[in-house]
Symmetry: C2
Subunit: 480 residues, 2 copies
Amino acid sequence: MAKEKKFVEAITSRDEDFAQWYTDVVKKAKLIDYTSVKGCMVYRPNGYAIWEEIQKDLDARFKATGVQNVYLPVLIPESLLQKEKDHVEGFAPEVAWVTHGGGAKLEERMCIRPTSETLFCEHWAKVVQSYRDLPMVYNQWCSVLRWEKTTRPFLRSKEFLWQEGHTMHATHEEAEARTLQMHKVYEDFIREDLAIPCIVGRKTESEKFAGAEATYTIEALMHDGKALQSATSHFFGDGFAKAFGVQFVDKNNELQYGFETSWGLSTRIIGAIIMVHSDDSGLVLPPRIAPTKVRVIPIAQQKPGVIEGARELLAKIREAGFTADIDETDKMPGWKFSEQEMVGIPLRVEIGPKDLEKGQAVIVRRDTREKYFVALNEITVKIGEILEQMQKDMYNRAEEFLNSHIDTAVTMEEMITKFDTNPGFIKAMWCGDENCEDEIKAQTMGATTRCIPEKQEHLSDVCVCCGKPAKHMVYFGKAY
Amino acid sequence: MAKEKKFVEAITSRDEDFAQWYTDVVKKAKLIDYTSVKGCMVYRPNGYAIWEEIQKDLDARFKATGVQNVYLPVLIPESLLQKEKDHVEGFAPEVAWVTHGGGAKLEERMCIRPTSETLFCEHWAKVVQSYRDLPMVYNQWCSVLRWEKTTRPFLRSKEFLWQEGHTMHATHEEAEARTLQMHKVYEDFIREDLAIPCIVGRKTESEKFAGAEATYTIEALMHDGKALQSATSHFFGDGFAKAFGVQFVDKNNELQYGFETSWGLSTRIIGAIIMVHSDDSGLVLPPRIAPTKVRVIPIAQQKPGVIEGARELLAKIREAGFTADIDETDKMPGWKFSEQEMVGIPLRVEIGPKDLEKGQAVIVRRDTREKYFVALNEITVKIGEILEQMQKDMYNRAEEFLNSHIDTAVTMEEMITKFDTNPGFIKAMWCGDENCEDEIKAQTMGATTRCIPEKQEHLSDVCVCCGKPAKHMVYFGKAY
C-alpha cells in the first residue's frame, strides 16, 4: 500500500494548487514531455491518442457538411504574409523566420505558418475562375508555430496541432452561413463528444481575429473558474479576396470577389478536457473520446485460471467493439487501479478467483468510482450502458458547475466582488467602447469580454463601466 | 464532342513523353498545385484524399503490430542535429534554418526537421530508465523539409508528407527483427493495397541512410523502366543511443544502451501509383485506395425519372458501403466520362431511360473500360466483385510488366545494352566495392545498386564491373 500511496501522492490536490495539479496530471498521465526547444512539446502516446480521437470525430462532422481535406505548405514568403494589412500586424510579431536553406541565404525570408489564410488565398487566386468553381470548402490538419514567451502544455505552446478550415464563397450570405454552420459544428462536438458545456457568441472588435469582420467563439469554463476559448470561426467578408485577387466570373459574366471564412480548433482543447473533468487521482476522459474504454485487471492473478479468465473476458469485450487492454504486470492490484485512474481509462473490470466462481466481474467507473457486480454473460451490454451513462453524467456535472459559476453584475463593485468570491462568467451590459473593456480588465485584474451571446438579456440600461447607454450584454471572464 | 476531345487531348501520350504525361496527369486530375515557394506544393482535395486512404490502411497495419502514434516538434536545435556524426553529414547540407523568432535573433539556430531520429533519441534519453520501459514503438505522421533543388510533384519536393516510425529496444536482435517486420509491413501494403509489385532487399553501404547500420528497401518499377524507392527501414544498432545517451537498467541491474530503428513511407508513393497504373486518359487508382469507388452518371438526365433513378441507385450503392458520388452537371455524358476517367474513379455506373425501363445499369471499369450490363437488384454485389477483380488484375498486369523488365547481365557491355533496349532492373554480380558502383553508374548513364535481395542467385563468379570475386547478386536500376 505504501507504493500505491506514493504514486497518487505525486499529484498535487486540485483545490490546493490548480496550476501545479494541472502540470502533475499532464506529466503523470504521460500526455506530454518537454524538449530542448522551449515551448515545443512531445505529444506522447497517451496524449496523441486523445488528439487522434478528436480528429476522427471532428473530421467526420466536417465531412458530413461537405468539407474536403487538403495540405498547404509549412512556409509562407514574407511578401505573401504582408498582403493583408490587419493580418500581418496581428501575426508578424510572433512568427519564426527561415532565412537559410540548402546552405545558402534565401532571397526572401519565409515564416513557418502561424495560420494559413494567405496561402489558401494565393491558391484560390490561381484555381478559382468561375462561379462553378465555388464554394471551395477546405480544411487541413497540421501544426502551426507562434513564438509564445510563456508556455504551458496544451494551453499555450510555440508549436501546436490544430485543424484550420478555410472556405471561399460566391456570396456574402453563403460565407456568413458557413461561418455559423462551423461554429455550430464545434459547439455540438464540444458538448456531445467532449461532454463540455459552453457559452457561445460573437467576439468584440478588440478580441476578434486579425483581419476578420466577425469572429464567433466557443467559451468553456475550467474548474478554477477561468474561461478557455475552445474553437473560433471567422468571417472575412471579401477583404482577403481583394488583397489577394481572388476573383470569379459570376452567372451574369461579371467579375466578382469571393467571400472567405476560416475556423479552427487546436490541441488546446485537451487542456480543457483535463481542466473540466479531471480530479486528484488524475485524468478523467469522456468515454466518447477515450482512446481505451476499458482496462481488465486480474486480481490474485497467480491463482490458477485467473489470467486465462481475464484474457477471455478481454477478448469478449474487444469483440463487442470496445477498445480494451489488460494489466498483467506483477504489480499489486491497488497500484494497477491507480495507474488506470491516472491515465483516465473510463472503466476498469476487476476479475479474481471468487468472481470466476460466481461467473461475474466488477466494473468500476473512473469518474464516480461506482462499482457494478455484473454477470459475465451480461458484461458487454452493461459496459455499453455504463459508458453512455458516464458520458451524460460528466456533461451534467460540468453543466451544473458552469451554471453555478455564471452570475450578473450591474455595477463595477459588484463585478469585482463576484470575480473575487465566485470566479466564472459574469454577464454585464456594455457600451461597445474598447476603453471600457480596458478599464474592466484593469479593475478586475484580468477579466475580458469573452463573447456577445446571440440571446441577449436586458440587465440594465447602461454600461457596467462608464454608465453610458448599453449596446450589448456581454459575458466577461478571466481567460487562459 | 469537340469539347470532350479537347479535355482528353490536354494529356500528352505516355509513350511519347513520359515526363510530360506525368505532369499532365498530376495537373488535370487536380492532385497538386504549385505555390510561390518553389518546390512546396498544395495537395489539393483529389491528391490529399489518396494520402488519407494510404494513412488509414497503413496506420491500421502499424497499430496491429503494436505501434503507437506520437508527435514531436518541427524544430531541431543545431546542437542536437550535430550529435550523431554521419547523420548530420547526411542532412545538414539540405536543411532550412530558422534564425529569428518573435522578433528577435535566436541564440541558437534551429532547422525544420528533415527527419526526426535526433528528437526521438533526445526524448528517449529522458523517459527510458528500465528495461520495463522498452520497447518504445513510435510513429508520427507529419511533414519534413529538405532543400531540394530540382523538384517534381510527389517525387521530389522541398516539403513532403510522410510517416516516420522510430523504435528503441533492449536488444540488438529485437531491433533487427522490428526493422525486418516493418520492411515486410511495407511490402504487404504496397503489394496488396497499392497493387504494386516490387523487389525488396538491403541497400549497399553507399546507398544506405545517414547513420544507419543497415537499410532495407522496397523498389518498384515505373512504366518508363525507372525504379522508385518506395519505403525504407533502417537498423541503427546502438550508435544513436550512444550519441544521445539512451541508457536503461537491464534485468541484471546493469546499465545498457538501447538499439534503434526507423522506417518511413512518403507521399512519393503517390507518384509510384501514378507511374505504375495510369494511362493516357488520366489517373488509374487501385480500388482499395481510391477515395471514391463509384461515380453514377445519369444519361439523358433531362428525361423524366432519370435523375431520380440515378439518385436512388447512388443511395443504394452508398448503403452497401461503397464511397460514391454522382455527376448531375449539365455537361455532355462523354465529357463526364472523361472527367471520371481523368480523376481515376475505378467504376462508373451509367443509367439512362432505357436502362431504367429494363431495370438495369451499365458498369464501366476504369482500367480496361470493360462494360457490364447489370440488373439493378444485383448491382451492389456486382460492384464488389468487379472492384476486387480490378484490384487483382491491376496487380497482375503490373507484375507482368515488372517481370518482363527484369534481366541479367554478366558483362558491362551486356548491362549497357540492356539498359538501353529494355530499361528496368538488371541483376548482376558485384564485388562489394563502392568504386564499381561509381563506374557502373558512369558507364550506364545513371544505374545504381537498388538492393541486395535476400534470395541470391549465382549468375557468375566475378563482379560485372571489375572482374574480381563477386560477393553479392545485386539489382541495378536507374532511379527517380
